[in-house]
């Protein structure tokens, strides 16, 4: 009963907010926050429950809602991010036009995602999936101009994806007569190898588009950088993860671990991991070359997705735990980074990395937020990113996949470079003149920063809390339980024990700090008092951020141009010219039309007499 | 070649005196209004390089003498047989107090720093000069330092010696 109430509140709340928005904006803001917070609480209460309820029927097919550990894990992530970004957008969207439409679409998208995660059968899954797609489309093309092209790219690719999914669902329905996930799981074991492969490829195409796997990632960078910041935070931290949920659903919930490993004679698993590895390398180097903060973060989201899929598709319990935990961490620090960039854009009006700088003195809290986010992204010990990445590396090396491990490790170093570029170009260095009097981020924006930073650090030091839950999930998916203590996984081969690293690090820090304090006084000087070979620091021109990794660009530019993007735009151009030629068929003069009719008649006759086609 | 060149010059411009010093470098002395015209004429004749502008302070006659050093770009030795590399000196005299002269930038752009320097050190105002800003000196000088009537020792006594030493307070 709880699940139904969650969905009803979510959808009802969305429309209620829209209607109330017409009345008064304060009421609407209050209602939006109230709904999101109440939903978070409700989902929190649903912890540990499992169950199924059929709430409606469609074309004599029962629509079922189901909750178990896996869906609860995703639901809590979705709801927290949306609540934080709604709180963030209270002040971000003040004064912008069409805000009611924005809140309606944001809450609608959130409820659709909850629907996806809680749905027990494929029809409701497909319905919520479509609602999520086109509500996200309307939000991406919210700020006009370039966003339209990005929105168009997004919606066309996601429609193609959902068409493949529709074929997959329907062929399941036609072969097994039911679409309830639980029943299909039991029936599918009898399916032949090729059929399972056919179904998995169809579904993974749909989920690959949504989670921006490498060849079909093209829509993501423009979509993320053009969407309004609070929504691009939701978009990049959660909406992509619906693809990941789909991956887990298909690979483990439906076909089960054993079947998945045997799929396509074991080659399918290898291809998937290879794709994931490529998804790590290419976007990381692309992210290095971006000058727009949000585009850089968008490319980094694709790279982190590569990690998650790598973890999931490896097929070992450690890998799955690592993948799921990295999903949760990526939600935390990607939402944090996007909200922070949104706050900066809100204050300074620009997000071009070449024209920002020195904001550390002006926006300290945002700086700490970005610092925590990037430390998590890189996976520095004592942040949650480290634990999840470490699990993924461990399973890669133990299962003897050196080349995948290589891709993952180089990806980490690439992450360091582009995340440092983010910090350096925005916060460090000289403050340009026009940013002289930027105010710090408003209070309503600081709240999400603090919450997310605490999550990153807390789960970094005590990874046991989330790992216990993920352990339950992997157990429910047919993997063996790993003994997890509060500090990490105490498995036999080279255990990860955060306690040693944490203790060693804390001691070292204290010793060095003490040694630093006792060793003499220091003179604090202002930001522009810097050595400039004897002359005074030229205001505004003394900050080196343009093309931060220029020597590297010149090296890797030809190899890491986005070939897939060019390929797709060629495809669309060919399609348009084809449609022009086809339209010329209707050339407008009557004689030709009559000839068409006679031609049709003759084709019918020939095909019967001559070839007797029918 | 210098002969015909000399006749041609004298024919076009009236009261200018052209004399060839060490029978190589012609020295042209002209009045202030003709300077630009001559410069343009020389430039058209192929002398496209204004090497420098220097200024001489004749205190007794209360006049400044400006010397324009113009020469031809050496386009390879055997390019044009008649065109060996010769430099031409163009002199003009202007009176000392509120000295003022039209700028040569329309003809030779690279005259800009030369004129700024002369303005700073001699105090000659070049009309039409876009940026007559100080070039070298940090301080302001009532009498521009390069003028003959500027007494450097006296200036040092009056400015630098007045600055007291910094003794420790015992």
């Amino acid at each position: 009963m709880l699940i139904q109430s969650i969905l009803i509140i979510a959808f009802g709340g969305a429309f209620l907010t829209y209607i109330l928005g017409k009345a008064s904006s304060a009421l609407r803001d209050f209602l939006a926050v109230l709904i999101s917070v109440s939903l978070t609480v409700l989902i929190f209460l649903a912890y540990g429950k499992t169950g199924e309820i059929a709430f409606a029927s469609f074309m004599n097919l029962p629509l079922v809602l189901r909750i178990n550990h896996l869906s609860w894990f995703f639901a809590i992530a979705i709801q927290t991010v949306t609540t934080l970004s709604v709180i963030f957008s209270l002040s971000y969207m003040k004064g912008k036009e069409r805000v009611d439409f924005y809140y309606l679409m944001m809450l609608l998208c959130n409820s659709a995602m909850l629907g996806i995660v809680l749905s027990g059968d494929f029809v409701s899954f497909y319905i919520f999936w479509e609602i999520m797609s086109w509500s996200a489309f309307l939000l991406i093309s919210y700020n006009r101009g370039g966003a339209l092209y990005a929105g168009m790219k997004y919606i066309v690719m996601s429609i193609i994806g959902s068409m493949c999914m529709l074929i997959g669902i329907m062929s399941l329905y036609s072969t097994y007569g039911t679409l309830n996930i639980r029943e299909i799981h039991d029936l599918i074991s009898t399916a032949s190898g090729e059929y399972l492969l056919f179904i998995s490829i169809l579904f993974l195409a749909a989920f690959g588009v949504k989670s921006a796997l490498w060849p079909i990632h093209v829509w993501l960078p423009p979509a993320h950088s053009e969407a309004p910041s609070p929504f691009s935070a939701v978009l990049s931290s959660i909406l992509i993860k619906m693809g990941i949920y789909g991956f887990v659903l298909i690979l483990y919930v439906i076909s089960g671990a054993a079947l998945y490993l045997g799929l396509g004679g074991g080659s399918f698993r290898y291809i998937l991991t290879l794709l994931a590895a490529i998804t790590i390398i290419i976007p990381t180097f692309n992210a290095l070359m971006q000058d727009d903060a949000k585009r850089l973060l968008a490319w980094s989201s694709i790279a982190q997705i590569g990690y998650i899929i790598l973890g999931i598709s490896i097929g070992t319990s450690l890998g799955l735990i690592g993948g799921l935990f990295h999903f949760f961490n990526h939600v935390a620090f990607k939402a944090l980074l996007f909200l922070a960039v949104g706050a900066i854009e809100y204050r300074t009006g620009t997000r071009d990395l070449n024209s920002l700088g020195g904001l550390i003195k002006k926006m300290p809290v945002t700086f700490i937020a970005v610092l925590a986010g990037t430390f998590g992204l890189i996976g520095i010990p004592l942040t949650n990113g480290f634990v999840s990445k470490w699990l993924i590396y461990k399973t890669l090396i133990l299962n003897n996949h050196p080349f995948l491990a290589f891709a993952a490790l180089v990806g980490t170093w690439g992450t360091i470079l582009y995340s440092y570029k983010l910090i350096h170009n925005i916060f460090l260095g000289q403050l340009p003149e026009n940013l002289e009097h930027t105010k710090p981020a408003p209070a309503s924006m600081k709240l999400p920063f603090i919450i997310l930073s605490v999550v990153i650090v807390l789960f970094g030091i005590l990874p046991g809390i989330p790992l216990k839950l993920i352990n339950l999930i992997t157990a429910s998916l047919g993997f063996d339980l790993l003994n997890i203590n509060i500090w990490g996984i105490a498995s036999e081969s080279g255990p990860l024990n955060i306690i040693n690293i944490f203790a060693a690090f804390a001691v070292a820090l204290i010793v060095v700090w003490f040694f630093f304090l006792i060793s003499g006084k220091k003179v604090v000087i202002s930001q522009d008092n810097s050595y400039a070979a004897g002359i005074d620091v030229p205001k505004g021109k003394y900050h080196y951020t343009v093309d931060f990794y220029n020597p590297m660009f010149r090296m890797i530019k030809p190899y890491f141009r986005d070939y897939m993007d060019e390929f797709y735009s060629q495809l669309v151009k060919a399609l348009a010219s084809l449609s022009d030629r086809v339209r010329r068929l209707y050339c407008g003069d009557l004689g030709v039309y009559v000839i068409y009719i006679v031609l049709f008649l003759s084709i019918l006759v020939i095909s019967k007499i001559g070839l007797n086609l029918w | 070649m210098n002969k015909e060149f000399k006749q041609e010059l004298e024919s076009i411009f009236r009261d200018i005196t052209v004399n060839i010093t060490d029978d190589v470098t012609p020295v042209i002395a002209a009045a202030k209004p003709q300077i630009l015209a001559i410069l343009r004429f020389l430039k058209d004749k192929g002398y496209g390089h204004l090497a420098m502008i220097s200024c001489v302070d004749w205190l007794k006659e209360a006049q400044f003498e400006l010397v324009y050093l113009v020469s031809a770009y050496l386009k390879g030795d055997n390019e044009e047989p008649g065109q060996e590399k010769i430099t031409i000196l163009l002199k003009t005299r202007i009176d000392r107090d509120n000295a003022e002269l039209p700028t040569a930038i329309p003809v030779f752009e690279n005259a800009e720093p030369y004129e700024r320097e002369i303005h700073e050190l001699f105090g000659i105002h070049f009309t039409g000069h876009p940026r007559l800003l100080p070039l070298f000196l940090e301080r302001e000088y009532k009498i521009p330092p390069f003028r003959k009537d500027f007494d450097s020792r006296e200036y040092v006594k009056e400015v630098f010696d007045k600055i007291p030493f910094v003794e420790d307070k015992e």
């Binding site: 003179v523 008092n529 050595y531 070979a533 004897g534 002359i535 005074d536 | 070298f136 000196l137 940090e138 301080r139 302001e140 000088y141 330092p145 500027f150 450097s152 020792r153 200036y155 040092v156 400015v159 630098f160 010696d161 007045k162 600055i163 007291p164 030493f165 910094v166 420790d168 307070k169």
Partner: protein, 186 residues
Amino acid sequence: MDRNQIKKWLESPGKMGHKYSLWAVYFCTGCGIIEIPPVITSRWDAERFGVLPAPSPRQANLFLITGYVSVKTLKAIIKTYEQMPEPKYTVGFGSCPINGGMYWDSYNTIKHLDKYIPIDGWIAGCMPRPEAIFIAVTHLWTLIDKGMAKGYVKYRENYGRYRENQEKALGKLEWPRLFPIKDENE
């Protein structure tokens, strides 16, 4: 050269440290700088005594002013001197910084450098040879030893007057005061 007397190290590490690791700022003013390369390379090797050219004033504690100081260079010298960390020593090279040298009557050079920044040691000579520089370094050691090389303290204490002189010579300075005005009169 009492470098290896451990007792002295234990008593006054600061002094000894400064004596035997003098890092000179890369600052080439006037004609004196041509004397520095032989000093730091293999012919005379100043590194034996721990004297190194330091790339930035932040890392240095010795400031060699080599050669005449024009009015324009004075601004750079003051800026660099102020950017050096606190216990710092300055050595004037040659006669020009002492009293203007042969440019004593020129309108464009600074006559007595120590009116603008405190100078701890002078090396006479119209460009002293490397041996003279080493003698200067040894003298600087003795000064440090006796605690007389207190140029930076003098600068801090009467910064107001120094600043006054500087502004007299250079006109309004655009960078802020190194020490706020209050500690001027205590």
